[in-house]
């Protein structure tokens, strides 16, 4: 088979790939872009649980824009080998591509420990459209009244949300002593848990599933480490995702937890970039390297990669973990360093009957934020974190009711208010 030659090759085409393609097209109207995706369409992963819960009927991502991107899209293509010495990628189908610049954005694979009984009918992971179809099919043909979810992280919570909408009894099993332990503190985890309880979800903490039991090949119970038996008609393993990097071994790309990239999203090989759930980047605040698998990061990294693949030198200030969860009437948004270690961090908190807010400051800068129910100002705080604006002068106004753009230094505010509205 002959190689397909292309200027730009996007390996994996979800959020990061999409925004990379858009950025490339804005800067290079003619250059050939080949985009390869494992799926048979372009989907928005967060929509899967909403689809399950009947909130949306279409899980595609902005289908009306695809035409304008003028891409050569390859569906159902799985990347197999990235040659070490050449700019050449081979798919499992045997198709091969030669590129000038490539973006690796193959995302993550679900973490699925080898639990006994995992292959029983009724046990699912939930990260691809195929998973979702399988779940929908299963629910059409079987009576599902009790669902057990393993994992009290983001995916587990969203899955729980979906099943709540469907009116089934949900049990959430989490290994840590509280939910979303990386993105929330004790108090806010408590708020979340209470909201889940009120919505009819049972939350079991400091436990995990060790075995699935079934009858006739179909799931009947989930067995917990503590010994408890949870009768279940359906179970979802939602522990998390890990970067899909196995296929890159031997490609000459430095890998740690994910693909190691610099501030230009460039890997060790100068023609190869990485973005999204597969990329390991520096944390904006702490400088530590990690994979931050969230949508806003995928977008930002995809854009930066797209700029640099077309000859710019745009650097990316670093990743910032941000998170939004809403269950029932409780809405939570958190960002940055929410559980600061002991040291000179300053905490500003506000607790009312039905809300909780915490801001974490270090050396006069905002580095972390948790908002429960009073979430409207989240974007303002998060931008103060990202732009590293010194908040000393108006520290006492931060949590006031009327805190807003008006409380910020005039030049910063005017630049945002006017700069963003001046036509380029």
């Amino acid at each position: 088979m002959n190689d397909i030659e292309t200027r730009y090759l996007l390996v994996g085409f979800s959020v990061a790939g999409w925004w990379c393609a858009r950025t490339i097209r804005e800067r290079d109207r003619k250059g050939k872009i080949v985009a390869i995706t494992k799926e048979n369409g372009i989907y928005s992963p967060p929509l899967f649980t909403y689809y399950l819960g009947n909130r949306v009927s279409d899980i595609r991502y902005r289908p009306e824009w695809i035409e304008n991107l003028d891409l050569d899209l390859i569906y159902g293509g799985e990347a197999k080998t990235l040659e070490k010495e050449n700019n050449r990628l081979i798919l499992s189908s045997g198709e091969s591509f030669v590129f000038e610049k490539a973006l690796i954005a193959t995302g993550g694979l679900p973490v699925a420990p080898p639990l006994p009984g995992k292959e029983l009918e009724g046990v699912f992971t939930f990260t691809t459209p195929r998973d979702m179809q399988k779940v929908s099919e299963f629910m059409k043909h079987h009576r599902v009244e009790r669902v057990t979810i393993l994992g009290g992280g983001f995916i587990g919570l969203k899955t729980a949300e979906a099943f709540i909408e469907l009116g089934v009894k949900v049990t959430l099993v989490e290994l840590a002593n509280r939910l979303l332990q990386n993105m929330l503190d004790e108090k806010s985890s408590y708020y979340l848990e209470s909201a889940l309880n009120r919505a009819g979800v049972e939350v079991i903490k400091e436990d995990t599933i060790v075995e699935f039991q079934g009858q006739g090949g179909k799931l009947t119970d989930a067995i917990l480490k503590s010994g408890e038996h949870l009768p279940s008609d359906l179970a979802v393993i939602a522990i998390g995702v890990r970067p899909n990097i196995d296929w890159l071994r031997g490609s000459g790309i430095e890998i740690n937890r994910g693909i190691i990239v610099d501030e230009f999203q460039q890997s060790q090989r100068p023609d190869i970039f990485a973005a999204g759930d597969i990329a390991e980047t520096k944390n904006l605040i702490t400088g530590e390297r990690n994979v931050v698998a969230i949508w806003p990061e995928a977008v930002k990294q995809g854009k930066v990669a797209g700029e640099n693949m077309t000859g710019s030198r745009v650097s990316y200030p670093g990743s910032l973990p941000v998170n939004t969860v809403s269950v029932g009437e409780v809405a939570l948004i958190s960002a940055g360093l929410v559980n600061p270690p002991l040291g000179d961090f300053e905490l500003l908190t506000e607790v009312t009957n039905d809300s909780y807010r915490k801001l974490v400051l270090k050396d006069g800068y905002l580095v972390g934020m948790i908002l429960v129910n009073k979430i409207e100002k989240a974007g303002i705080y998060i931008n103060l974190i990202r732009q590293k604006v010194k908040v000393d002068d108006f520290k006492d106004r931060l949590l006031k009711e009327d805190f807003g753009m008006i409380s910020l230094p005039a030049e910063y505010r005017k630049h945002l208010v006017e700069g963003a509205s001046i036509e380029v």
């Binding site: 949508w295 753009m405 008006i406 963003a420 036509e423």
Partner: protein, 143 residues
């Protein structure tokens, strides 16, 4: 693209912009009915921020690089071809609040009382925005 320009030196903090925005986006479109008759009371999409004698009305800037649009997972946030305004398609919005999390100006609110969707300025769908029209001191201009 015509945008709303804010002139804080002329804002008198009267909040007639908020009132007219509320009425424009109410069910009845009539001021007394919108305030006294509609339950729940509709929300204005513009907010007057005030500190001392400084004040200004702030609404969505319909940014050229709109973070709310970039981070919207459902595609509900979209750009209107004619006006170039960033609008929210309430039929697609699932109330995930990624937009609220992304907006550096904090101008998006939760329209929670009626549905769980995002609420923000829509540039009055192509007409001269009512906040601009009704500002008694021309602190908001549309150009």
């Amino acid at each position: 693209m015509k945008k709303i320009h804010i002139h804080e030196e002329y804002c008198i903090g009267c909040r007639l912009c908020e009132i007219n925005c509320l009425v424009k986006h109410s069910r009845s479109g009539k001021i007394v009915k919108a305030f006294r008759g509609e339950e729940p009371r509709p929300l204005p999409r513009v907010r007057v921020e005030e500190e001392g004698y400084l004040s200004f009305a702030l609404q969505c800037r319909h940014c050229d690089e709109a973070l709310c649009l970039e981070n919207c997972p459902t595609g509900a946030m979209y750009r209107d071809e004619e006006t170039q305004a960033v609008l929210c398609d309430e039929n697609k919005c699932v109330g995930c609040w990624m937009c609220i999390m992304s907006c550096p100006l904090g101008v998006i609110k939760r329209e929670e009382k009626t549905k769980k969707v995002a609420s923000k300025c829509d540039l009055c769908r192509g007409e001269t925005p009512v906040c601009v029209k009704n500002c008694p001191n021309e602190a908001l201009t549309y150009e």
